[in-house]
């Protein structure tokens, strides 16, 4: 079974998602450009190019903050899952807006200096030895470079080509980008502001991202502990049908009576079952596949061993595993989750070898 790559896999939900996102960005930029001259919070007089620069820059900052908040929000409240579902497009759009901000900055320098704009940006401020007046542009350049790399490697091909651990490591750089953007804003626009509004908005935004991550991490820990101490009442095993209907190195998802879902993977004539929910950001593991011998989340490439649900070293994430049995050629799933990281010997298909 081979799935061909396509440029973008569209569906109705994704089209609506992208439309709403583009509309929100356009409305924000237009409102900012209209209102900024009336309620300027900066000492210096502002003109068109500067307002344009700030409109795109503030939009990129808010978008990056939101894109980092979607994962924790979805873990805390499942009603956010539809927003998480197409977050990849949100991230790419964030990189485009950040690039538009950089382009506005280059235009600004081009209109005021005979030096090539890119050189002018690098040489306009070289006070590296002091905190106040530090060349904050450098943090912006680094953040933009990271966001462009993330957007450029967002296609599924890169996950397979670079291998999930490398792809994941690259995409964790988004947190470095966020730190750079925060420094960029703190050492740049905030220093020039005459009113505390901008500082309050920036502080509230960064704090919200941090608090949401902390709350989501706490929720995950509590969930793992609850699973580990689940009672041993013995409910009915769930009929998962013909095991051969599961494509090789792919999964079939099975609904459990409590509303949760299990992903049953077939690989190397063996079967293993894990929860359908990736601990990273609730990605649907059952829509992923076995890559390099491990269950690979289709969203961000998080990997787990199919038999024990443990992420390969040096990562420490664990997911719940489930017991399986074959009876009269049909596959059955024990609906009781094992504690995350529990080894379950894979079920051998007839003719398979351990």
């Amino acid at each position: 079974m081979s799935v061909k790559y396509s440029p973008v896999i569209w569906n109705r939900n994704k089209i609506i998602y992208d439309f709403v996102m583009l509309l929100a960005v356009a409305v924000y930029i237009l409102i900012f450009i209209r209102l900024a001259p009336l309620v300027s919070v900066h000492h210096a007089a502002t003109d068109g190019p500067i307002i344009e620069m700030r409109a795109f820059g503030s939009c990129a900052f808010l978008m990056l903050s939101f894109v980092l908040s979607i994962g924790p929000l979805a873990r805390l409240d499942k009603r956010w899952l539809p927003v998480l579902y197409n977050r990849r497009h949100f991230g790419v759009m964030t990189a485009f807006i950040a690039a538009a901000h950089a382009n506005a900055v280059l235009d600004y320098y081009a209109s005021r200096s005979a030096t090539p704009p890119a050189v002018a940006v690098l040489t306009s401020n070289t006070s590296f030895g002091q905190l106040l007046g530090f060349p904050f542009e450098m943090f912006g350049i680094l953040a933009l470079a990271i966001l462009l790399v993330l957007a450029a490697t967002s296609h599924d091909f890169w996950l397979s080509f670079l291998t999930p651990p490398v792809w994941k490591a690259i995409h964790m750089l988004v947190y470095i980008a966020f730190a750079c953007v925060t420094l960029h804003v703190s050492l740049g626009p905030l220093q020039a502001a005459s009113h505390p509004t901008l500082a309050i908005v920036a502080f509230a935004t960064v704090s919200t991202v941090g608090v949401l991550h902390r709350l989501a991490a706490h929720r995950t820990t509590a969930f793992e502990q609850a699973n580990a101490t689940a009672d041993d009442a013995a409910p009915e095993w769930i009929d998962a049908g013909d095991p051969m209907s599961i494509p090789d190195k792919r999964a079939k998802t099975v609904n459990l009576p409590d509303g949760s879902r299990v992903a049953v993977f077939r690989y190397d004539s063996k079967l293993s079952a894990v929860t359908n929910v990736c601990v990273h950001q609730n990605g649907p593991l059952g829509e992923g596949r076995i890559l390099g011998g491990k269950v690979t989340c289709p969203w961000h490439g998080f990997q787990y061993r199919a038999d024990n649900g443990c992420a390969p070293a040096p990562y420490t994430e664990k997911i719940s595993t489930y017991r399986l049995k074959l009876e009269a050629g049909r596959l059955f799933v024990d609906p009781r989750p094992n504690a995350p990281g529990t080894l379950v010997v894979p079920l051998l298909l007839p003719g398979g070898t351990a």
Partner: protein, 70 residues
């Protein structure tokens, strides 16, 4: 000024090298190392920026995957 000019020049050379590699990799190499890319071409356009930005990594992986196949 001279250092800034050198940084900008280095970035241009890096991008030019990446563009050359993208030309070879996305037309000739990708189909050899990934069966899911064979016979499908439009998506390759989306891979140009990533190949240009990460071309040393792409070169390493391409080489490693070619070796695995032989």
């Amino acid at each position: 000024m001279a250092i800034a000019g050198s940084i900008v020049l280095a970035a241009k050379v890096y991008a030019a090298a990446g563009a050359c590699l993208a030309g070879f990799f996305l037309t000739l190499g990708i189909g050899r190392i990934d069966p899911a890319a064979r016979g499908t071409f439009v998506f390759r356009v989306l891979l140009i920026p990533g190949t240009v930005l990460l071309w040393p990594l792409v070169l390493m992986r391409w080489k490693a995957l070619e070796r695995q196949q032989h």
